[in-house]
Structures are given as structure tokens and as C-alpha cells.
Symmetry: C2
Subunit: 623 residues, 2 copies
């Protein structure tokens, strides 16, 4: 492994340049103008007229919005926000009983890397997983309804940044922590960092039948930061890889101290081996979790040296290689799984770190790729011919290259500072080619100004021939990563089917009722165009009257079994709103602590008489 | 006034049709295909290549998202979400001290009609106002920074739906309630509705210097629903108009009972007269508000009969007419301000309702306009030639017509069920023409399916010649209304200037400090690429250590005075996140109730070393 020339100074200069406006970018401008010479054809490429639909769904991380953003490709029109880790006023997510319970006490999230469920290494269009760096959670979204179904709190960890990525048949997703914390996240002095802090990786399974996420086991890795990761494919399917930084184990001023060592590591692990250890009881119970300590239990985890502070690591579609990109080194390094397996078999180790064997760089490395003047390589995606596309954060471009030869094939400037990129079906065993989207961190003055803080930017690149940026779409913070799936793989339902086992559901007007048990009031009501009926036998069927202090449950079923006829249920000045999609039953639970007269109304425009879809919530004062 | 034929049955049939998919819309399809015959040119019309910017900003209501959505026109790309009435995980709105205080205990909102501040009847690009139907609030957004600056809680009212609209020089915005409630919103039986409930209108002023919204006075109108409104212009500038429904004073099953009467009313009021009454003490104190009772204080308010359950009322750019659209009557009615003024002068009244004089329909009406087969007229916008564009909710189209003659000039189908539409500079004394956007309530299968509930849809219409739909943009719920302003009218700042008077701000590394007073801890820290410094003199300047139970204030200043370099500040697993835009100081206040070790990190991608921008928050256990 050659000694990398530190590029921190060039990097900072590069970043300073990246804060200039496009008016200042004469060289980039020239390239961009050339790329845009035929605006006419770019316009046509991205235009989807009424009556036609987009070819792909893009599921983009919403970053610290805590949500997921759904776009159509190639139009780059945003179709939907799916609330995941943060409450959502629009849909009442975090207000109705089910989502409120899922959210617990948390009111924000930082959604990083979304991942589709896979069957035989291909997106199957059934589920979408994501993780929360803000409050250390994982979630699953049902793609039949585009709603979040389960949220898992992950203990012993602090920000599962480098997840989710799933194994070939969705056996696991691995959630390594971005920050090391003491086990149980208890208080320990930073002076004892190397002894008492750990970087815990969680192996999470998904129980499809019960729609539940579970932690199968955890691994107490060294107290480093785990950045990005990928699962193996085909011949490497039992393995996964993760990048690390701060193997220096620094505890302050990280931008200097965590960039000292000339190399960090790729963690390479065999999840079948780890699974076996768990079966054999080779773990300790840590706060109810099965924790594997790799310094004690050998044979599942290995380290591969890599140029300092790598960011992305990506497995090629054929599963033969993994490519690490060194954000502080100007190169991509191609490693061979086969070589790694051989080295492991022969126990060709160069010592260990924290009890984990280190493979020799030379015996695993296939080739180092260093395109001229390309700076800040971060992440790599692939097309249908196995060609690699790497984002260059500092030099603000996408470089296309051949992993088999290392040869640079094409380059295109993007505006500006791309983090990840995403290719059509890019993380599968069979990418589609056609489209690549650069997820840019900085838009600067690309769009109309919206104050000191600007949107991020996604740029659609036609990769069917010479790469060409054909559209720039502003985006709310912050698309850390995305996956793009063929539209016909997603099979949504039009309405929620009747559920005879749901004791909260009422499907007929004459079954609506208000039931009182002491100070607990249960409303079994319906929403329909264009009225609420809470108690069909009452003088005013659309009025709920309770006593101050009553504990109120409003079970509401939307009996409009028509596509897109969603109703809302809000109580004015009571800070309550939820939605019921066609056929859906939802429950709102609250204490009527405020006496008075409060209008109830439908928040989702549902018909010409939507404005008349209202009633009253009357709360009789205590005395 | 002719007796309107009830169209409820036709209306419902129309709506049922509107729930079909576009595949079923053979007649509409034919029209649409014709409109789209030249897709090439449509594509070019909306395509804004990199290096160019949109011509207009669109500020769209985010409805029950509680937020405001900013788009560029003609690209229809969404540039920004401005959090207004709901917390926002992405920007930490509702988490930092200032926004948390503004929000109070509310966690959602239902933002309806946005309105720009005006100077001489023209948008001046300085402020944007909006109201919350969900929790009865008003807000002001600063267009220098695109951030919400003040929120006003409006008592005695329940959903100021038909606001905000501002007078010619932003003297007032008027917030009439959508739902009648008892004064003080106290508990009263619905049996006493007509006697004890009121529909209160609030006159709100904006103190530009102190950036504060205030209630100047309120008016206790009859217990009706107030739907939409508009301010007068030029010769009618001292006046405003509002539509009503439920003048039947029904208290249940509104979609039937509030549609019984053949006519409802336009409320016409002179705010200069009301202002005078307040000056003369002609009001009563109701919970601290100056309440005018129109049955006692005459001369400021009049009723104009209008076809049943009207929805929109819009003043023509020349200020001479107001146009009411009857959602349950197939016509637009043009009324003359001049005729109304004369009738008032001559006291030509047809009795009164609830003590408010009724003007004779015939003496105010200028003309009834009833385009053939156009059903469900809702709202009207105007172009640069004074021509009117009315949305037809039931027949799903825009009708262009001449208010001076009533002649239908053009029609274009939209997909589907438009509520409002918005024209370029459409609510000013001098609209621009060029573009009109239909804000459609139902998208159905226009876009890729995202489950039982679909996005709404905004369609951009080129009105420079024959009307032509050129783009369909899906949108999150729910664009009730929008205003469109020339891009060059908005003057944003690039960075927040240093504020020497802000005692929480620290601009130099060596001024950072942590100050303890008993169990109150104040951190005066900075964020910069790529580190936090909380206490420059500490062994670890990026670590905050407190005792469990401490009351913590984190004052953080972003000292990167560079456009678009926003930093975030999150404490992992502590459910806390806020942002600091370039130059900005923000404060987060909380109690450290949970002991342990919690990473601090920057949530806004800010540089190549963003990933290293972190520290620790250590909370020592109590015992």
C-alpha cells in the first residue's frame, strides 16, 4: 500500500471553491454549457406529459427531516413524503394511536440510507428499510400503502449511520454505529475511551408475517466510527463490508485528530459465522441483547487496511469485488473478495487491532484507481455493463470507470459536491443503466434564493451514452442516499380491505356508537363523503360530547372505498389531527383536559361538500 | 335574483365521475391530448436549464402540513419548505427556543391562504402572512430569510379559514372564523346555537418594526361559517368582502342542513368605519379583545344576497367589482362596489339579518355569468387584461371570461377538481398574465401510485394565448391557495449579519465558554467548518459535561459567514436538533434528565469533514 499524500489542504481549497457561485465557475460552466448545448433534448428527456407516468420510483432519504421522499424518474417530480421518524402534521402520523406508539417520545429523526427488501439480490418492491442517526432507530415501510409499519429502538448504539443495507434475501440488515459509546450508553469519562467505549453493530431481522423488526445479535466492535457499508452478493453473499474512521480513537477535535493515521480499515465479516456463534451461545447478555465480543470469539470478523478515512464501500453487482473510496485520499481501491477469502483461509494476517485479525493490504487489493485531478471520491454505483460511477465531492463531478481495468471512461461535472449517487436498480445484482442521479450537498445559487440556507440538489444524468446532466431538482434537506426501482415492481393497494377482526372498525352507519365506561369514552365512528357519524342514534350524529378530564378514544373508519378519497379528522384548538385513508380505521387517544366548544372538521379535501364535513366536540366543564 | 336550480344531484354525479381514472375520461382525454399535441414545446416551456432561474416564486399553502411550500415557476420545482405552524425536524423549527415559544403547545397546523404584504396594492416582496385553521393562529414569514418570525393566537374564533388577505398597504388582514363558537370558546349547548354562538372576525395588524402581529379589534358576526374573502382595491380600498355559508344556522349534518336556503350572503364591510368605532370606544371588552357587536354599532357592515353556499369571492384588479362563485349554483355573480356604495348611501335595504342591513341583490348585482355546462365555480383570478379565470370544481376545468361582458373566452380541462387557481401577481392591482396554476384537489392516477392516498396536483397553464396545460406537478397535502410573485421582488440576505447586541452570540473561538449558575448551565458555543467549540479553554473544547437534572441552555453561533453553509446541532438519543444558518445564533433549552454518554453531531452536510464534526454530551448520574 503506497503512502497517500495528505490532501487536506487541497481538499479545503476545493471546498472553498465549491462555495463560489456558478457565475464564478468559468471552467465548470464551459463544461456545463457544452453538456446543456441541446437543452431541447434535455427538456424532452425529463418531460412526462399528462397520461404518461414515470419509469422509476426514487426513494430518497430525507435526512434530518426524518422522512422519506418519493420522486418519479425521469421527471424528478416529488410525489410523496412518507413520514418515518418524525411526526407529520399532514397525515397525522405521530398523532394516531399506532404511529404515536411507534414514535415513542421522539419528535425528530435523521433518516439516512434507505434500502429495498431483496429477493435473490434483486429489489422485490415489497418493503423499504431505513435507519435514524438522530435517535438510533430502524424502520420498515410497507410499499403496498407507502406507510411506516414498525420502528425499532436500537440500544448500545449511537447513530446507525451506515445502514440500512440488506443481504441478498433480506435475511439481515446490519446497523453499525457511527459514534462509539459505552455499552448501555451509560456515563463514562472520555479519558477511558479506548477501554470503555465500543462501536456496536446490530444484526437486525425482519419478521415479514408479523411486520416486526428484531435485533438478532450485536457485535461489540472497537470504539471507531463506522461510516458506510454494503452486503455481499452471489459468491460473497454471506459477507458484508463496512468502512471505518477514527481508528485513531480520538476523543476531541475530530476533523484533525481522526485524520492522523495513514490508514483506517474496512471491516469484513461473515454473518453466517456470527449467526453460528449466536447459536452456539458464544455471546454475552448486555442489557437483553446477545453481544458478540470479537476479541473473544474469533473467525467471523477481519480488518482490511484502506487509505485514510474512507467514506463509501460498494460491492460490485457480480459480488466479486468491493470498492472503497477515500475521502481524504484521491483514489478508489478495488478489493477482491476471492483474495480475501484465500488470505483468511491461509491465515495470512498482519497482526491484529483490538483482537481482530488484519488482512494484508497487498493480498486483498486488486487495484488502486486514481483518475487525474479527481478529488474526494465518496461512493460508487454501477450500470448494466458493470461499469462504476464514483462521486467526487471535491472536484464536483461523476467519474465513470471500469473496475476490471481501472480505466477512466467518462466524466461529467455536477453542481456541487455530490455525496452519494444512485443508479437505476443500482444496488442489485443486475443494475439497469439508463439513469444516474447525483445527490449534491450544495446547490448554492442554482435555484431562486430562499435565504441564507439553500436547498440541496439532485441532478439526473443520462448514462445511456456519454454522460449528460439533463435535469436539476432542488430538494428539502437532506438526501443522503436513495434507491431507484422500476415502477412496475411496486404494487400498491387502492383501498384498505375491510377487516372483520378489527374491533375498532365500524363499516355501517347504523353501527356507529359512543360507549362510556366510567371516565373512558370510546367513539366508534365513520367518515364518508361528506359527513362524520359518531353515533347514528343521537340527535346530532356528528357531535361528540364528553366531560372535562374524560379519557377519549376516537376510532374512525373511512367507509369511502374509493381510490384517493382520504378523510382527515381534526379538533380545532385541541392540537389533534389524523387521517383515514379509504377503508382504513385509525384511533386517536387523548384526555379532554380543556373544557369548551371545539369544531371537528375534515382536513383532507374530499368532495364539493368537504367544507360542510364538520361537527362539534363539546367538553363540559368539571364543576 | 333568480331562483337557482339546486344542482346537488348533478354535483354529486360530477364528483363521482371525478373519482374515475384518466383512462375512463375519454372526452377529457381527447381534449387533453389535443392540448398536449405539441409536447415538445410544453417540455421546453417548463424546462429551466442549469445556469438559468425560474421567473416567479410560487408560495403555496401546505394545508394540514402546517407549512408553506415554495416553488419556482415555470419549472414547478419545489425549492423549499418553510415551517410555519408545525414543528420541523429538518430545520429544528419548534426545537430552538424562539420557535418553540412561538409554537406554544401546538404540534400541528392547517395553513390555508397565504398572502404577500402589499404596497399600493402591489406585492412588495417583504412579508408573507398565513393563517392556521387547525389551531386558530396567524403567522408572518420574513422574505429576507424565508423564516417564520411571529405567530399570533387568535381567541374567540375557530379556524380563520378565509384569511389571510391584506389591504392595499398592509394596514390589516382580516381573519373571519370558519366555524361559529361561543365567545371565549366556552361550553354551550348546540341547542342554543343561534343565541350563544358567534362567527368572530379579527382585524389583525402587523407591526413591521417589532415584527409582531396584533389584534386591533374583533367583530361578533352572526353564527355562520365564513369561507373566503378579499380586500378591496383602489376605489374600494377601505372595504372588504367575505362569503358565508350555513346562514341556516344548522348544527348537525351540515352537508344537507347548511345547503337548504336558496341564498347565503356576501358580508361587505368598511374597515375605516370599524376603525373609527374602535377609536370612539364603540366596543365591548371580551376576554381582553375589543369586540364590535354589529347589531349595536351600525354603519360598518352590510349583507349582499348571493346564490347558495358560495365559496370564493374575488375583487377585480381595478377594484370596481367583486365576483362571487357559487359552488352549489352553476354561476359566477359580478357585483359592483359602486352600486353597493350608492345603495348604502341611499339606505336601500331589504330588511336585515341579525341586525345587519341587507342590500338588495338587484341593486348591487352587475351580471350573472353561467358558462354552458360549467359546474362548481369556486375561485377567480385575473390576467393583465382584466380577464377572469374561474376554477370549476365539478366539471374539472378553468373557464376564461370577460367580467365586463360575461362572455366565455376560453376553457381548458384540468386533472381533477380544481379548488383555487393562482395567476402571476394575480391578487395585485396589476396582474402579469403569462401563467396560471390550477390547484387540483384530486390527482388520482396522474402519477405513479403511492398507495390508497395520492398527492394533490398543481397544473401550470400558459395563458399567454389560448390556454394550455403545460405541466402537472404532484404536491404534498395540501395547496389550498398560493400566490405567485415576480422573482426579482424577493431580496434575500446571504448571511445573518453580526449582532453586537445579542448577548447569546459568540463570534470568536476564544470567547466560547460554559457558565454554570447552580444547576443552570449556559453554553456559549460556535459552529464552524468542521467543528463545534463550546469552551475553547477546555481539554476537549467540543464536549459538554453536565449533571443529571441540570437545566441546560446551548447558545450556538454559526461563524461561517458563507452563503449556504448551514450547520445543525443534534444530541443523539436526546431528541434534540436545531440549525444555525450562516451568521445566525440559536438557543436550545432543555433539562438533562437522562444520564449517560450522548454524541453531539452536525446534521447539515457542511464540508468534506462534516462527518467528523461531532463531540459528546456527557450527563453525570445524580448519585
Amino acid at each position: 500500500m503506497k503512502k497517500w499524500v495528505p490532501i487536506a489542504s487541497g481538499l479545503l481549497a476545493g471546498f472553498a471553491a465549491a462555495t463560489l457561485s456558478f457565475a464564478d465557475f468559468s471552467s465548470n460552466n464551459t463544461k456545463t454549457e457544452a453538456a446543456n448545448a441541446s437543452n431541447k433534448s434535455n427538456a424532452e428527456k425529463v418531460y412526462v406529459p399528462f397520461g404518461k407516468k414515470d419509469d422509476y420510483y426514487l426513494f430518497a432519504s430525507g435526512g434530518h427531516s426524518g422522512q422519506m421522499f418519493i420522486y418519479g424518474v425521469p421527471s424528478m417530480r416529488k410525489i410523496r413524503t412518507i413520514p418515518v421518524f418524525s411526526p407529520d402534521s399532514a397525515t397525522g402520523y405521530g398523532f394516531d394511536e399506532h404511529s404515536k406508539k411507534m414514535m415513542g417520545d421522539y419528535t425528530w429523526g435523521d433518516l439516512h440510507h434507505p434500502a429495498f427488501s431483496e429477493t435473490n439480490g434483486d429489489y422485490d418492491g415489497k418493503w423499504m428499510f431505513a435507519t435514524d442517526v438522530g435517535n438510533s432507530r430502524a424502520a420498515v415501510v410497507d410499499l403496498k400503502t407507502f406507510t411506516t409499519k414498525d420502528i425499532l429502538n436500537v440500544p448500545n448504539t449511537a447513530g446507525p449511520h451506515c445502514a440500512a443495507f440488506v443481504t441478498e434475501n433480506t435475511e439481515y440488515m446490519f446497523l453499525p454505529t457511527r459514534f462509539a459509546v459505552p455499552l448501555g450508553q451509560k456515563y463514562e469519562s472520555l479519558d477511558d475511551y479506548s477501554q470503555k467505549y465500543r462501536g456496536v453493530m446490530s444484526a437486525v431481522t425482519f419478521d415479514e408475517k408479523n411486520v416486526k423488526l428484531n435485533i438478532a445479535y450485536q457485535v461489540a466492535l472497537p470504539p471507531w466510527s463506522y461510516d458506510l457499508s454494503d452486503a455481499g452478493k452471489k459468491s460473497s453473499k454471506d459477507w458484508a463490508v463496512m468502512t471505518t474512521y477514527n481508528t485513531e480513537e480520538a476523543t476531541t477535535t475530530m476533523e484533525v485528530n481522526a485524520s492522523q493515521a495513514d490508514r483506517d480499515y474496512i471491516v469484513l465479516f461473515n454473518w453466517k459465522e456470527l449467526e453460528k456463534m449466536v447459536k452456539e451461545g458464544k455471546y454475552e447478555d448486555v442489557g437483553g441483547q446477545k453481544m458478540i465480543f470479537p476479541e473473544k470469539e474469533k473467525g467471523g470478523i477481519y480488518l482490511v487496511p484502506v487509505a485514510k478515512s474512507p467514506h463509501g464501500v460498494d460491492v460490485t453487482p457480480d459480488g466479486k469485488y468491493f470498492i472503497a473510496s477515500g475521502k481524504l485520499a484521491p483514489a478508489m481501491t478495488v478489493f477482491s473478495f476471492e483474495k480475501a477469502f484465500k488470505a483468511i483461509e491461509k491465515k495470512e494476517f498482519a497482526g491484529d487491532r483490538n483482537g481482530i485479525p488484519i488482512l494484508k493490504y497487498e493480498s486483498v487489493m486488486e487495484r488502486e484507481v486514481n483518475p487525474e485531478n479527481a478529488l474526494g471520491p465518496l461512493h460508487t454505483q454501477f450500470d448494466d455493463k458493470g461499469m462504476a460511477y464514483t462521486t467526487m465531492f471535491i472536484s464536483s463531478e461523476i467519474v465513470k470507470w471500469d473496475p476490471k481495468t481501472g480505466k477512466t471512461l467518462d466524466r461529467v461535472p455536477v453542481q456541487y459536491s455530490p455525496g452519494h449517487s444512485v443508479a437505476a436498480e443500482g444496488d442489485t445484482v443486475a443494475p439497469d443503466g439508463k439513469w444516474l442521479i447525483a445527490l449534491n450537498k450544495i446547490a448554492k445559487d442554482t435555484y431562486l434564493s430562499v435565504g441564507p440556507s439553500h436547498p440541496e440538489s439532485m441532478q439526473l444524468i443520462d448514462i445511456s451514452g456519454k454522460m449528460k446532466v439533463v435535469q436539476s431538482a432542488p430538494v428539502d434537506p437532506e438526501p443522503h442516499y436513495a434507491q431507484m426501482i422500476k415502477a412496475d415492481k411496486i404494487k400498491t393497494i387502492n383501498v384498505y380491505p375491510k377487516d372483520p377482526n378489527n374491533k375498532d372498525a365500524v363499516y355501517k352507519q347504523n353501527e356507529t356508537k359512543i360507549v362510556r365506561n366510567g371516565n373512558e369514552v370510546h367513539v366508534y365512528g365513520i367518515a364518508m363523503r361528506s359527513r362524520f357519524i359518531f353515533d347514528h342514534a343521537a340527535k346530532r350524529p356528528d357531535v361528540i360530547e364528553v366531560n372535562q378530564g374524560d379519557h377519549v378514544f376516537i376510532h374512525l373508519t373511512n367507509i369511502d372505498f374509493d381510490e384517493d378519497i382520504t378523510h382527515g379528522f381534526a379538533i380545532n384548538s385541541y392540537d389533534l389531527n389524523m387521517e383515514v385513508q379509504p377503508g382504513q380505521t385509525n384511533t386517536m387517544e387523548f384526555t379532554a383536559d380543556k373544557a369548551g366548544t371545539f369544531p371537528i372538521y375534515c382536513t383532507n379535501f374530499c368532495s364539493a361538500l368537504h367544507q360542510e364535513m364538520n361537527g362539534y366536540f363539546l367538553v363540559k366543564p368539571k364543576n
